[in-house]
C-alpha cells in the first residue's frame, strides 16, 4: 500500500477507535438514564428515587389485577420474578394490557412502597404466532400436564 494511504488508514482507524471508546464510556456512565424503566428488583433495592417521576417495568402478576367497580381505578403488581411492585393507576389501559403481559408504567414511588402511575404502556415481545398455533400449543400442554396453567396468555 502507498505510504500516504497507509498513513490515512491508520489515522482514521485511531480516530474511530478513540471516538468509540469515548462514546462507550459516556453511554456506560449514563446507563441509568438510558434505561427506560427501573425493574422491580432495582426498586426493591432502593435504587429508584422516591417522589420523582420515574418509570417502572415488569410482568403483570397473574391474578393481581383488581379493578374498582365504580371508577377506572385499577391496582396490580408487576414482577421480574425476583421482586414485585404494587402499582395503582386511574385511567384507560392499553389494549395489550393483561395478566402475564410486560408493561412500563410512568409515575412516582410513594413512601408506602406503592407506585402511583400516571401512564401505563404495554410491552410486547418479539414473538409472533397465528392464534390457531397458540390454541394448539395450549391444548397440547393441557394434555401433557393438566394441572399446570398455560404459559401462553390469550
Amino acid at each position: 500500500m502507498h505510504a500516504i494511504r497507509k498513513k490515512r488508514l491508520i489515522t482514521l482507524a485511531v480516530i474511530l477507535f478513540i471516538l468509540s471508546a469515548a462514546l462507550g464510556l459516556v453511554l456506560y456512565a449514563l446507563q441509568q438514564n438510558i434505561n427506560l424503566f427501573y425493574s422491580p428488583t432495582q426498586i426493591a433495592l432502593g435504587e429508584a428515587p422516591e417522589n420523582t417521576t420515574i418509570r417502572a417495568g415488569g410482568m403483570v402478576v397473574k391474578g393481581s389485577v383488581k379493578r374498582d367497580a365504580n371508577t377506572l381505578a385499577v391496582t396490580f403488581a408487576v414482577t421480574d420474578f425476583k421482586h414485585s411492585v404494587q402499582i395503582q393507576y386511574q385511567g384507560i389501559l392499553p389494549d395489550l394490557f393483561r395478566e402475564g403481559q410486560g408493561i412500563v408504567a410512568q409515575g412516582k414511588m410513594l413512601s408506602n412502597g406503592v407506585f402511583s402511575a400516571s401512564q401505563v404502556l404495554a410491552k410486547h415481545d418479539e414473538k409472533y404466532m397465528p392464534p390457531e398455533v397458540t390454541e394448539a400449543l395450549e391444548k397440547a400442554q393441557q394434555q401433557t400436564n393438566p394441572t399446570s396453567s398455560s404459559t401462553l396468555e390469550r
Binding site: R5, L12, L16, L19, L36, G57, P94, E126, Y128, L152
Partner: protein
Amino acid sequence: MNWIWFHKLGSPKWFYQWSSKWALPVFSMGLLAMLVGVGWGLGFAPTDYQQGDTYRIIYLHVPAAVLAESCYLSLGVAGFVYLVWQMKMAPIFIKSMAPIGAAMAAIALLSGAIWGKPTWGTWWVWDARLTSVLVLFLLYMGIIALQNTLEDAALANQATAIVSVLGLINLPIIKYSVNWWNTLHQPASFSLTEKPAMPMEMWLPLLIAVIGFYCLVVGLVMWRMQSEILLRERRTQWVKEKVMNHGV
C-alpha cells in the same frame, strides 16, 4: 488477490456503462418482490395471537428499518474508501444514497409510531432504540445538509465522507440498544444465528419484502449515481460524445 473489479468500480465511465445495464432489471425485480412480500404480508399472512392485524405493519416497518441501517453502513464504507483512497466514485455514491437512506429511516420512524399507538399506547417514547434511530435519521439529514450548503465540491466530498464514517458508531448502538438497556421496543425477531421468532408463513413474506426493498434501493441508487456522474464528468470526452450522439 485480484483487485481489478475494485479499480474498475472507481472509474465513472465504467460504472455508468455497467449500471446502465443493471439498474432497470434490479429495480424491477425489487419492485416485484416488494409488492409480493408486502401484499402477501398485509393480505394473506396469518394474524397474530396477541396483536391481531396490527402486527402486519411489520411488513413495512422491518424492511424500512433494515434498509435504513444498511444504507448507512454503505455510506460509512464509502466515506472510508474516500478518505483513504480518494476514490472519485465514493462521494458520488454518498450523495446519491443519503436521501434514500433518510427516506427509509423516516418510513421506519413513522410506521413505528403508527404501530406504537395501538400496541404500546403511545406514539413515541424516548427509549434507546427509538432515540438511536432518530439520531440515524438526523445523521442522514446532516449529510444531505452539508452536501447542499458547501459550494466547494472538494470540501463537500470531504465533509460528507467524514460524517458518514463517524456516524458508523451509531449502528451497533441501534442494533444492540434493545439488549444493552431496558427499552419499550422489543428485541429483534430475526438473527443470523437463531430461528426466527415466528412461523414460516409469517417470516417468508417478510424476507421477500426485505429482499425487494434491497433491490429497489440498489436500482434507485444506480440511477441517481448515473445522473450525478454525467453532471460531474460533463467536461470529459465520453460524456460529451454521449450527449452529442444520444442526447440525455
